[in-house]
């Protein structure tokens, strides 16, 4: 019988493009990003195009594109248009994109920018609102107000976008349950299709991390965070959103197809400074610092910093700990097709224990986290790390 793994992998159906510029730097953010002033933005756009052409010499059959950052809307309308066009040129025009997402910051997109995006075929917007509490917005370093956030959503809707997502954050220092409930209420008063809600994680190399080490900010207690999550889950369920992933909630038909690529452990192209990608069994990270990235691309080199060939063992581990984030879970069928064996062959003990502990559920066709398991995801995920390297 033919080994499934040895089949030449189908070319990835997703593209991620990273725009590493911001008009202000949020205190919690540790992504690859630069304050936009005095940066060689046009040069970057040009080299980004070169990088894409280098990898995709022919347009590829792609289903989803996600332009994130940083902040794509930090670019001017024409600059952003160029990026969107350049990406689209890398995709097979005979096949319409199933999803074309762009991240938007409140206050950074006007009529013209939205119109342009619409013209260029963008189908989905992801708007970084985080909270509707102005004082909290300031404390986390956001450069916009709650009112601007609302305006931006309305404007997007009026520009004809019918798939709008917003990002929210909870577990922020000094955030109270009342703040959080208010934010949820105000979010639901807007006409939106999708919510991504993340609890704050204090990452190294951020302002928050420094303040945390100096004792100036304190993360919220675990119990409060858990309560906040549960409140959110309930409110969104009542409003007709379903939690198709631990942190992601969508109205029917509005799940993010692009993000599901990651969770389903499928390959994707990553372009831009600091972008991550997964091609031909290799995970890679591009050079982050702009000059390094630009120089490499100009020299006709691959602007890659790290590559890691994913072993069979790692691949199985990732299939599990990424897949379980989704409500649909890890498909038995897909696992078998990829690895030519059942997850029960690989994880007999973990599966039994986790089921007994009430963290995992076998639907017959897939493994899924239980309600309890969703909040304790890491406890479950870590159990799927195998000891020996495969």
């Amino acid at each position: 019988m033919m080994n499934v793994q040895e089949k030449a992998p189908a070319s990835p159906a997703s593209i991620y493009v990273h725009i590493p510029f911001c008009r202000y730097i949020c205190f919690y953010c540790d992504f690859n990003k630069f304050f936009i002033e005095n940066q060689p933005v046009d040069d970057y756009i040009e080299q980004l195009d070169r990088e894409m052409k280098r990898v995709l010499m022919e347009p590829a059959p792609v289903d989803t594109v996600y332009v994130g950052g940083g902040t794509p809307t930090a670019l001017g309308t024409d600059q952003l248009r160029r990026v969107l066009r350049d990406v689209k040129k890398r995709t097979d025009s005979s096949r319409p994109l199933r999803e074309f997402s762009v991240e938007v910051n409140p206050g950074e997109a006007d009529w013209a920018k939205f119109d342009m995006m619409k013209e260029e075929g963008v189908t989905r917007l992801s708007i970084g609102i985080q909270t509707f509490n102005d004082s909290l917005l300031q404390k986390i370093g956001r450069g916009h107000s709650a009112a601007e956030a609302k305006e931006t959503v309305l404007l997007a809707r009026e520009s004809g976008f019918d798939n709008i997502s917003i990002d929210l954050m909870f577990g922020l220092p000094e955030q109270t349950m009342a703040d959080w409930k208010d934010t949820i209420t105000r979010a639901l008063q807007l006409d939106i299709d999708h919510v991504s809600a993340y609890s704050l994680k204090i990452e190294e190399k951020t302002m928050f991390y420094n303040w945390y080490r100096q004792g100036k900010i304190k993360p919220l207690p675990e119990d409060t965070e858990a309560d906040m999550y549960e409140v959110l889950e309930e409110a969104l369920a009542d409003a007709g959103f379903h939690a198709y992933e631990i942190s992601n909630f969508a109205k029917p038909g509005k799940e993010s197809e692009h993000n599901k690529t990651y969770w389903r452990n499928e390959e994707y192209y990553g372009f831009g400074a600091g972008a991550h990608g997964y091609l031909n069994g290799v995970r890679y990270a591009n050079l982050g610092p702009l000059p390094h990235y630009l120089k490499a691309v100009k020299a006709g080199e691959n602007p890659v910093k790290d590559t890691h060939e994913v072993s069979r063992t790692e691949n199985m581990e990732e299939e599990m700990f990424m897949g379980l984030r989704m409500k649909e879970g890890v498909s038995a069928h897909r696992f078998y097709r990829k690895f030519n064996c059942s997850y029960y062959d690989i994880y007999p003990e973990a599966l039994q224990e986790l089921t007994e502990e009430g963290l995992l559920y076998d639907s017959g066709s897939a493994l899924q986290l239980t309600e309890k398991g969703r909040l304790l995801g890491n406890e479950v995920f870590a159990r799927f790390l195998l000891d020996e390297e495969g």
């Binding site: 990273h18 631990i246 942190s247 700990f321 304790l376 890491n378 406890e379």
Partner: protein, 608 residues
């Protein structure tokens, strides 16, 4: 050597040691004496020459005894032979001190010119007086600001009751007074007595193990003489050996033809084990044995016990090797294998006292590079069972069921605490809290007081010393001696996690103190053990009786949130870290306990 020469030689021997409190300058003074007698070329002089081990040098204390053979030409033109015997300064080693003093005719009593006599000094001076030693008071550090030599002189007379009118004012650091000290050594300390024609009696006052030579015994020849080829017998252990080499330390070992009456030196006789060359034993000839051994021999038994476990289980056999090696040099160290459900495989070890324990722990960690978890130190309890049987318990987890126990006895010590006036109240309060029984209080001078209590040894090994230090701002000095066993209302207290007892955390404790100890431990554990997927009760129990309780709440949220693009690598790292963290935890039933939690409870270091 002619008979006359021999007599002259014996007449010109002076054997002496130095008694001093830690930091009062003993080792520095020894260095000065070595310099003055030019026993060492300057380039070989390291500071504190007699302290051989790094640890000694670092902690400023002498652990193993050393003896040095020195030649000194006095102003009268005569050449004298000195044997300077260094003694350890700590109460744990008081027996070793008493034996090394027994090898001398005199002692230098070194007292710091500003701090005065400390409890340990006093204890050792009394040992010297018991051994009929001639005592030469030396008041050291007279050149430092705050020195009050006159007051100290009076203190020596008042407290010890010896004539201090000739006390030498010295500064070991600058060398001031060294010549005067050597003069007094010659004038005041008697030459050794004894007769080289008598049957051999040589006192073993220390021994050490050398990888190439086997055991090297430090001996003082009291009667007769000894030379290579002699068949000798250890009078206590009755083991026989043939002498391979004798000699003296200059301080390097130098072989000699013989050691004769009055001499202090070393003996190598193909002895494989230090326990065959016990401190205090008497060496005699197999052929013409001495009628009786020298007085004062005691078997040293460990008083303090603890479990030592490697942090990394794979270090177990390395730990055994380390203990075996240390044992070669230290006959008072005992150990046997034990296994604990919480700490895994390790050893139950016995020590002379707390310092001895700390030194061994530190040497294992430092010289052998093994990280240790040690259980709370405990003592030997005498447990009388209802059927009349007596059992000795040194490990709380071996304590029989309460119903089977008739009564329990615990070791008591007589403890002397010397403090400035202002702290008398604090010391008495502490001793009372530690179940002490007051016996005596004497004013040494208008400012300093010697307070004597009977105290349970358990309390001493638990935290008495630390508490004493903190409640007297470090001014107290403290000394104790074992006095015997007394009945006490002792119970075994277990610590339960999720209903299961954690063997390593069981303690034997006085019933009146159980509640407070139990409460402290459960609160500490509650804070140190991470939340589990279920609620975990933490309890302290005596038998079936829960006396303190706390609860670790169930974990509610642990999930990666933001999941940027495809940075799977980072996510994986986080999960791997979590998994690694779990691997390092010890399982108690279903509860995962980080080792730090055990260590922290066992050390009880940051109480109060």
């Amino acid at each position: 050597m002619s008979e006359e020469n021999r007599e002259n030689r014996q007449k010109n021997i002076r054997n002496f040691s130095i008694i001093a409190h830690i930091d009062h300058g003993k080792s520095t003074l020894a260095d000065r004496i070595l310099e003055t007698t030019r026993s060492l070329p300057e380039r070989e002089m390291k500071n504190q020459m007699l302290d051989a081990m790094d640890l000694e040098r670092e902690r400023g204390i002498t652990i193993k005894l050393n003896s040095v053979h020195l030649k000194y030409t006095h102003t009268d033109g005569e050449e004298y032979t000195f044997h300077l015997i260094d003694t350890p300064g700590h109460v744990d080693f008081s027996y070793e001190v008493s034996r090394s003093l027994a090898a001398c005719e005199g002692a230098l009593l070194v007292v710091d010119a500003s701090q005065g006599i400390e409890a340990q000094t006093l204890a050792n001076v009394y040992l010297a007086v018991d051994n009929d030693l001639e005592i030469i008071p030396v008041i050291n550090k007279v050149d430092l600001p705050g020195a009050e030599p006159e007051r100290i002189k009076k203190e020596i007379e008042d407290v010890i009751g010896i004539d201090a009118s000739d006390a030498v004012y010295a500064s070991a650091k600058s060398g001031l007074g060294t010549d005067e000290i050597l003069s007094q050594v010659i004038d005041k300390i008697p030459a050794p007595g004894g007769n080289r024609e008598n049957p051999l009696q040589a006192l073993v006052f220390d021994s050490m193990y050398d990888t190439y030579r086997g055991v090297i015994s430090y001996i003082r020849v009291v009667e007769g003489s000894i030379r290579p080829g002699d068949k000798i017998k250890m009078m206590q252990t009755e083991k026989e050996f043939e002498v391979a080499e004798v000699g003296v330390f200059t301080p390097k070992p130098v072989a000699s033809k013989e050691l004769t009456v009055g001499d202090v030196g070393f003996l190598i006789a193909n002895i494989k084990n230090v326990s065959d060359s016990k401190v205090g034993d008497t060496i005699t000839h197999v052929k013409h044995p001495a009628p009786e051994p020298l007085p004062g021999y005691k078997t040293m038994n460990p008083m303090v016990f603890c479990g030592m476990h490697p942090v990394d289980a794979s270090d177990y056999s390395a730990l055994r090797d380390a203990l075996e090696r240390l044992e070669l040099n230290d006959s008072s160290l005992q150990f046997e294998a034990e296994s604990s459900q919480a700490l895994g495989f390790g050893f139950r070890c016995g020590f002379l006292g707390l310092l001895h324990m700390e030194i061994i722990q530190e040497r294992i960690e430092r010289e052998y590079g093994i990280s240790l978890i040690t259980t709370a130190p405990s003592v030997i309890y005498h447990v009388y069972l209802t059927d009349g049987e007596l059992i000795e318990i040194d490990n709380p987890s071996n304590m029989p069921d309460q119903q089977k126990v008739e009564l329990v006895e615990e070791p008591f010590v007589k403890a002397a605490v010397m403090v400035p006036n202002d702290f008398v109240g604090a010391v008495m309060e502490l001793c009372q809290k530690k179940r002490g029984e007051f016996t005596d209080m004497r004013y040494l001078d208008e400012n300093r007081v010697n307070i004597v209590y009977y105290l349970p040894l358990t309390e001493i090994v638990y935290d008495f010393f630390d508490q004493l230090k903190s409640s007297t701002k470090g001014y107290a000095s403290f000394e104790y001696e074992f006095t015997g066993y007394r009945e006490s209302n002792l119970v075994k207290m277990d610590i339960l996690l999720n209903g299961e007892p954690v063997d390593a955390l069981s303690v034997i404790v006085h019933r009146d103190m159980a509640f407070e100890r139990g409460k402290t431990i459960v609160e500490k554990l509650k804070d140190l053990i991470p939340r589990q997927q279920f609620e975990v009760p933490v309890q302290a129990a005596i038998g079936n009786n829960i006396i303190a309780r706390s609860t670790i709440k169930a974990m509610r949220k642990n999930v990666l949130s933001k999941c940027y693009g495809g940075d799977v690598t980072r996510k994986r790292k986080l999960l791997e870290k979590q998994k690694e963290g779990k691997r390092r935890m010890k399982n108690v039933g279903k509860v995962e306990v980080p080792q730090e939690a055990f260590m922290s409870v066992l050390r009880m270091d940051d109480d109060q």
